[in-house]
């Protein structure tokens, strides 16, 4: 009798363990994977932690490829899938080259949202959730032109040439300048400098030789914004106006001190937080609405803008509140706007 009870107990324990294990594997385990190490994405870590707590997720872990290399990111994604992650927020290492890996993830039952950067259609990612980079560059240049008094010469410092977003940014800056009917011209575009070494070398060399030839600087990538802000502080001449991008402390302080006029803020925290929420809802039976009001941009016709806002000296102290306000606003209407849930 005692032996029978022991067997029954053992069977029950195994069944319980199996049940727990089944439930554990059913829980949404989100991996937030950028293209490589970059300060822009550091907000994703906190966003994942908050999302795990608020939405009772199995995991929402920020996992960074050791460097910006498409193959490394693809390998990391494949490895994370075999480690049991079942939902992915991915900044595509390449808008085209990441598609194949994303397709493999989705074919294995793991939904993917392209986050902070888009995949080129056709793609099996649910949608793209990020900043409209072209629009952000356009609005930033318009602010710069306003600060320059509507006339003058602009230098544009931007990201890697192999990133097609770079061409969109270059075109957007040109477009804003052309709208002035010749009053403003883009005299120099320096690209391929979203890393400290090349940015320091090229921006400093350019300003040393041509500072007097430019009236305004627009930067559309994180590292060039930091380096250009530092350079203007060193030169000490506030004649040159500048609009940067993102929220690095160096740029924010330069805005407060008057060396930089403003910055185009993006919303990485909101991308990670709302993206994790959306993946969990999708895994629990929701579907993306076919008639959802997606925007169309160069890469995709399923784009959701995670928000961008211009912050000048009057708004720079409250930039966190600005980003949180955008996040709350998008989150409040997200499910009704974009998802069909049972």
């Amino acid at each position: 009798m005692l032996r029978t009870s022991k067997y029954l107990l053992a069977v029950a324990a195994i069944a319980l363990a199996a049940g727990v294990s089944a439930r554990a594997s059913d829980a949404t385990r989100v991996a937030l994977v950028p293209g490589g190490p970059h300060p822009y994405f550091s907000a994703w870590e906190k966003a994942g932690e908050d999302a795990k707590k608020d939405f009772n997720l199995g995991a929402a872990d920020y996992r960074v490829p050791q460097k910006w290399e498409l193959n490394l990111q693809n390998s990391l994604l494949e490895s994370l899938l075999s480690q049991g992650y079942n939902a992915f927020l991915v900044f595509p290492g390449d808008p085209v080259g990441s598609n194949s890996t994303v397709q493999e993830l989705t074919e294995n039952g793991a939904p993917v949202i392209a986050t902070a950067g888009c995949l080129k259609e056709p793609t099996t990612a649910l949608f793209c959730f990020g900043t409209d980079t072209g629009n952000s560059a356009y609005l930033g240049t318009k602010e710069l032109i306003k600060a320059m008094g509507g006339k003058g010469r602009i230098a544009h410092f931007t990201g890697f040439l192999v990133d097609p977003n770079t061409q969109l940014r270059i075109d957007a800056v040109e477009k804003a300048a052309k709208e002035t009917n010749g009053a403003v011209s883009v005299t120099q575009v320096i690209a391929d400098i979203d890393a400290p070494g090349p940015a320091e070398e090229k921006i400093n060399a350019y300003l040393a030789a041509h500072a007097s030839d430019v009236d305004g600087i627009v930067t559309t990538a994180w590292v060039p914004a930091v380096v250009a802000a530092n350079a203007l502080r060193r030169i000490g001449d506030k004649r040159i106006k500048m609009v940067g991008i993102d929220h690095d402390e160096v740029v924010l302080k330069a805005i407060k001190d008057g060396f930089v006029n403003g910055t185009m803020l993006q919303n990485p925290y909101g991308q990670g937080y709302i993206g994790s929420y959306a993946l969990n809802r999708i895994r629990n039976g929701c579907k993306v609405k076919k008639d959802a009001p997606f925007k169309t941009i160069a890469l995709t016709n399923r784009f959701i803008d995670s928000g961008t806002v211009y912050a000048d000296a009057s708004a720079v102290d409250n930039y966190v509140a600005s980003m949180q306000s955008i996040t709350k606003q998008i989150f409040a209407g997200f499910e009704n706007t974009y998802l069909d849930c049972p």
Partner: protein, 334 residues
């Protein structure tokens, strides 16, 4: 009869002392450790993706190995690979040409760029390090200028299907391609006059010249072969990603440099030239891919990955050294 019995243990000791045996042993030990310690390592999906990655790294290693044989280097393997891939993509997307034409054309592009390297090295007399460092920027720069960094993705579906194909659930056909190319290279060096001339020119160019080997022409052919193999690696990368993208080998193709060197060097190919181990290069690349995959499975902090990889490679080399000393002592005592 007695002599053959005595020769057998000697041959056994010799093969146990070999680099290749050590690499096989290390691969087996690490595979067992990773499979026991991490639940995902032995999963069919992971084994499939590991094989696919290893196949590409092996081919990149081969493309460097065939130049190291001459005592030279080819720093432009990544740039040549990217150019071949983009040429393949352009022919496929723009003209809709079939694979029977585009694949040889891509390999010819790789070989042609390799020939440029070879001619510049032979005619200038400068070290291949300088020449290929320069051509790396030139090839990549021209490619980005011509393509405006736009990828080609309207490629024949067969190539992507090939990259996703699985034999027995976990074997990638790309691995078989690498093995096939490895066999062909081994045959080249062991069985053909050209292969022997390559080794002779690498070991001692002056002596080879005196023996009637046209060293300059041999060097150019080595670089052409290197370019063609970089083209093969690029086509395999396309099969993995389903698109020809300018950044497939990183900025200037630099992402390929580490796998290009690690495989051949771990495998026993002499940097000074004249000696090659095709099997060693294959196994060396496979070991590095396996270690990287295993460390990812262990969830080693991403920024520690390179450190751990370096430490494990160091440990692997030291263990192999110990093994050789033990086997040598055991062999001597017999």
């Amino acid at each position: 009869m007695t002599a053959s019995i005595q020769r057998a243990p000697a041959a056994l000791v010799r093969s146990a002392l070999s680099n290749e045996f050590g690499l096989v042993a290390l691969i087996a030990v690490f595979a067992a450790w990773f499979a026991l310690a991490t639940p995902g390592f032995a999963s069919p999906f992971n084994l499939f993706t590991l094989g696919r990655i290893a196949a590409i790294d092996v081919m990149i290693g081969f493309s460097m190995m065939v130049v190291i044989v001459t005592g030279g280097l080819n720093l432009s393997v990544g740039a040549i690979g990217a150019c071949s891939a983009m040429f393949f993509g352009w022919l496929s997307q723009r003209f809709g040409l079939p694979l029977v034409f585009t694949i040889p054309a891509a390999l010819a592009m790789g070989a042609a760029l390799g020939a440029v390297n070879g001619q510049l090295i032979v005619r200038s007399g400068l070290h291949s390090f300088i020449i290929t460092l320069a051509t790396m920027s030139v090839f990549f720069g021209v490619m980005v200028f011509v393509t405006r960094a736009e990828a080609f993705r309207a490629l024949p579906p067969a190539i992507l299907a090939f990259g996703r194909l699985r034999y027995f659930g976990y074997v990638s056909p790309l691995l078989l391609v690498s093995a096939g190319v490895g066999l062909a290279l081994a045959a080249l060096y062991r069985l053909t006059p050209l292969g022997r001339e390559m080794l002779a020119a690498g070991a001692n160019a002056a002596a080879a010249e005196l023996s009637g080997v046209r060293v300059g022409r041999v060097f150019v052919r080595c670089h052409m072969l290197s370019g063609a193999l970089a083209g093969v690696a690029a086509l395999m990368a396309i099969a993995r990603t389903g698109a020809a993208i300018p950044s497939m080998a990183g900025d200037l193709g630099q992402d390929w440099l580490l796998p290009a060197f690690l495989g051949p060097v771990l495998g026993g190919t002499l940097l000074s030239g004249g000696r090659v181990s095709v099997l060693g290069a294959f196994l060396g690349s496979a070991l590095v891919s396996e270690l990287t995959n295993g460390l990812l499975q262990f969830r080693v902090g991403e920024f520690w990955l390179q450190t751990y990889l370096g430490l494990m490679l160091l440990a692997a080399v030291l263990l192999d050294l110990m093994r050789r000393k033990l086997v040598a002592r055991f062999g001597a005592s017999r």
